[in-house]
């Protein structure tokens, strides 16, 4: 066994194949970007610990995430808001985390997407779990995880094939995601979920913008709407307005008692989504 020779071959072939892989994905129009994952969320959440009375924290669901541009806000006000909104999640657990586990006395903008805001206080329900799991991760993350994330940033910013988002997009570029795109007629007889493609770019400050393709390719944009409709048309438990409002009010009172402010923000919606909201949760 000539291990030196084997090692040299492995090293050369390994590096060449990774370079080829990177070039292939770049040729497919992919470029290096960050993942919207629990690590990025946690490093943003850490900023609340040092935030002053003048600072602003954003909590909410995807509408706050997409609609509020943190750099524009900074340009207009001189303050960069701390973006803690989570797509597909109720803001209540994040708001609760800030009220209970920090002494933040600044302003919290709470996004109200009615089907999510009034959805539930049940801890295992997906809209709650998606947000609460990130707060739990922030609380429990190890020093090794922080170090891993710190080391991953230059790689995410340099290599297009690094893509491992928490959302598990249909077009993520990792082996598991690629295997998941293999479509065989399914033995369970159920229609498979429509593919949810990555349609956003996020930066290190969690400023999120929709990709340009959402403007230029109507079919792509409609595929995203189809997924939203699929989720929102699924059998969901009825909204729980009493519990959610009671839970929220208690936290609002606590924050205001220590000098903080709350701004409720209902982002506009139209078409199918507005009809759905008006039917289920009229103003």
């Amino acid at each position: 066994m000539n291990l030196k020779k084997s090692f040299t071959i492995a090293l050369i072939l390994g590096v060449l194949s990774i370079i080829a892989w990177e070039f292939y994905w770049r040729s497919q129009g992919r470029f290096p970007d960050l993942d919207d994952d629990k690590y990025l969320w946690a490093s943003t959440r850490a900023k609340v610990e040092k935030a002053s009375k003048d600072d602003v924290v954003l909590v909410g669901s995807s509408r706050v995430l997409f609609n509020i541009q943190v750099h524009k806000w900074e340009e207009l006000t001189g303050i960069q808001p701390i973006q803690l909104a989570n797509a597909g999640a109720t803001p209540l657990p994040t708001f609760h985390d800030i009220v209970e586990h920090t002494d933040f006395k600044g302003t919290v903008v709470v996004g109200v997407t009615p089907p999510l805001f009034f959805s539930t206080t049940f801890e295992q329900a997906p809209p709650w779990r998606r947000a609460a799991s990130r707060s739990e991760f922030y609380k429990n993350r190890t020093y090794a995880q922080r170090l891993n994330y710190f080391l991953s940033i230059p790689l995410q910013n340099s290599l297009a094939f690094i893509s491992n988002d928490d959302e598990e997009w249909h077009d993520d570029i990792n082996l598991k995601a690629l295997l998941n795109t293999i479509s065989w007629s399914d033995r369970n007889g159920r229609a498979s979920d429509p593919p949810f493609m990555r349609f956003q770019d996020i930066d290190i400050h969690r400023n999120v913008r929709m990709k340009n393709i959402m403007l230029t390719d109507t079919a792509f944009a409609n595929s995203i709407k189809t997924v939203w409709k699929f989720f929102m048309s699924a059998d969901m438990p009825p909204p729980d307005k009493e519990s959610t409002i009671a839970f929220f009010i208690e936290d609002v009172n606590k924050l205001e008692a220590r000098g903080g402010r709350v701004i409720l923000l209902r982002n506009p919606s139209d078409g199918f989504f507005k009809d759905l909201e008006n039917n289920g949760l009229p103003r």
Binding site: M1, S6, F7, S17, T142, A144, N148, L151, I173, G189
Partner: protein, 471 residues
């Protein structure tokens, strides 16, 4: 810190550079390794390093006293102190809530209405491994089987040596401490072979266990539904592959990393899914634990020296406690109990039926053993008895209306992968990775190595824990 993480790559490079630099003499290199091991552990949860220190100090002191003490009663007290501290840690951190739950259940059957407050104590990573390792030192010292460690530094490094600290292999003192006495330096061949083992270990963990098998296993065992037989079998087979690749992957990484430092660790797995019978299985699966249980539990319980009934009782107690070692739940006890039962039945059959193993009946018997092993994995993986019961009834084709939840491609993927796993274990039964690699051309080996590297990189493991960390 996890082997499958970016921080570990940086950590390992720094350790190797310092280890092979001419900055330090051997004693200082050992100090550096000890410090690195505490950093490796502390980056997960710094305060829990204190437990390691306590375990180290107590067992070092007990070992020193056992080396010179001649009074039998005093010797026993030193041994008991070591056992009490190590088993006390285990009882408090790992089994407290389990014991409390069972105590509460028993008390409440008599109508007391007692409610216990769960303490939500964090389980220190790898506590079952390092406590067993340090206990083996004091027990061997008590039995006068080994010499005491020459210096505290050697002993502390034995307890804390980072490649095998959190998930084994569980190494005996005479096999590891003595390696620290003389300066160790890997030869180029050893270093490269260690790198190859590290690559294989990461490939097993990141690509095979996490990317290809974990989701199917989680989907099936996380379902509360009554499943179709094929789904139940797919989930169980996926778990059997996942746990093997996860744990054997960790051991292979550990052995490889140690070898890069010139330190030799024992094998922990020898192609267990091609075992013919359960005695054979336990000579191939988690070898360092099974030999630990044999030497420090089964033999002290009488082993096979006091008749058949006592031997079977010792075997069953050993396997039940071995099950409990894996986790604080009755499902793990049942898992151990099933293995104990299999071992007893096998011994009875062997005493009455003599079979000459050939290639043909061998593979049939190996397949039969593997199928029986899969029934035990159901209890190991299921968090609740209701899930285990549903899974077993589906696997025994008793749920004709069971639901199909696993996709066609996933069924295909699991059966192909597990089929290949079984065949490769069968082919490797009487050989070793080193022998097979020796027989390959360097170019082929290099290509295989490159493919593994490429697949590791494109899998981009999310840095999830190894399953055995929780034990």
């Amino acid at each position: 810190m996890l082997f499958n993480s970016l921080s570990f790559i940086v950590f390992l490079v720094i350790v190797l550079v310092l280890y092979y630099s001419k900055l330090f003499n051997w004693t200082n290199k050992k100090r550096m390794l000890l410090l690195a091991s505490y950093v490796f552990y502390g980056l997960w949860n710094p305060p829990l390093v204190i437990l390691l220190w306590i375990s180290t100090l107590v067992d070092w002191q007990a070992g020193k006293k056992l080396a010179v003490e001649t009074n039998a009663r005093q010797r026993k007290l030193w041994l008991l102190l070591s056992l009490a501290v190590n088993l006390g840690f285990l009882a408090f951190f790992k089994y407290r809530d389990f014991l409390l739950d069972n105590f509460t259940s028993v008390v409440n059957t008599y109508g007391y209405g007692y409610e216990a407050q769960p303490m939500d104590i964090i389980l220190p990573m790898g506590i079952s491994f390092y406590t067993f390792q340090t206990m083996s030192y004091t027990i061997d010292m008590y039995n006068r089987k080994i010499e005491p460690a020459r210096t505290f530094l050697d002993f502390a490094l034995y307890v804390t040596f980072f490649p095998q600290l959190v998930a084994g292999p569980i190494v005996r003192a005479q096999d590891l401490i003595t390696q620290f006495y003389e300066e160790k330096k890997a030869t180029v061949k050893q270093f490269l072979w260690g790198t190859f083992l590290l690559t294989i270990g990461l490939f097993q963990k990141i690509v095979l266990a996490d990317t290809l098998l974990a989701d199917t296993s989680d989907q099936v065992f996380g379902s509360q539904k009554i499943l179709d037989s094929l789904d139940a079998w797919t989930g169980t087979l996926a778990f059997s592959g996942q746990i093997f690749f996860d744990f054997a992957g960790y051991s292979t990484c550990a052995i490889g990393i140690a070898l890069m430092l010139g330190i030799v660790l024992p094998d922990n797995f020898r192609y267990p899914y091609a075992s013919i019978g359960f005695s054979d299985f336990w000579r191939r699966w988690h070898i360092t634990l099974s030999t630990w249980l044999r030497d420090y539990l089964y033999i002290p319980l009488g082993g096979n020296r006091h008749g058949i009934v006592r031997m079977y009782a010792a075997l069953m107690i050993t396997m039940l406690l071995g099950g409990l070692w894996h986790g604080a739940a009755w499902t793990f006890v049942i898992w151990g109990g099933l293995h104990g039962l299999y071992l007893i039945i096998e011994r009875i059959l062997r005493s009455r039926i003599q079979i000459k193993i050939t290639a043909f009946n061998g593979i049939i018997l190996a397949l039969f053993t593997y199928i029986l092993v899969n029934f035990t994995w159901v209890f190991f993986r299921a968090r609740e008895f209701s899930v285990a019961k549903n899974m077993l009834s589906s696997m025994l084709f008793m749920n004709e209306e069971g639901e199909k939840i696993v996709g066609t491609f996933d069924v295909f993927k699991v059966f192909i992968l597990i089929g290949l796993l079984f065949i490769s274990h069968w082919l490797m039964r009487k050989t070793s990775l080193r022998e097979v690699s020796l027989s390959m051309s360097p170019v082929t080996l290099g290509i295989v190595w490159a493919i593994m590297l490429f697949l590791i990189v494109i899998s981009q493991g999310s840095g999830e824990q190894f399953i055995y960390f929780q034990f």
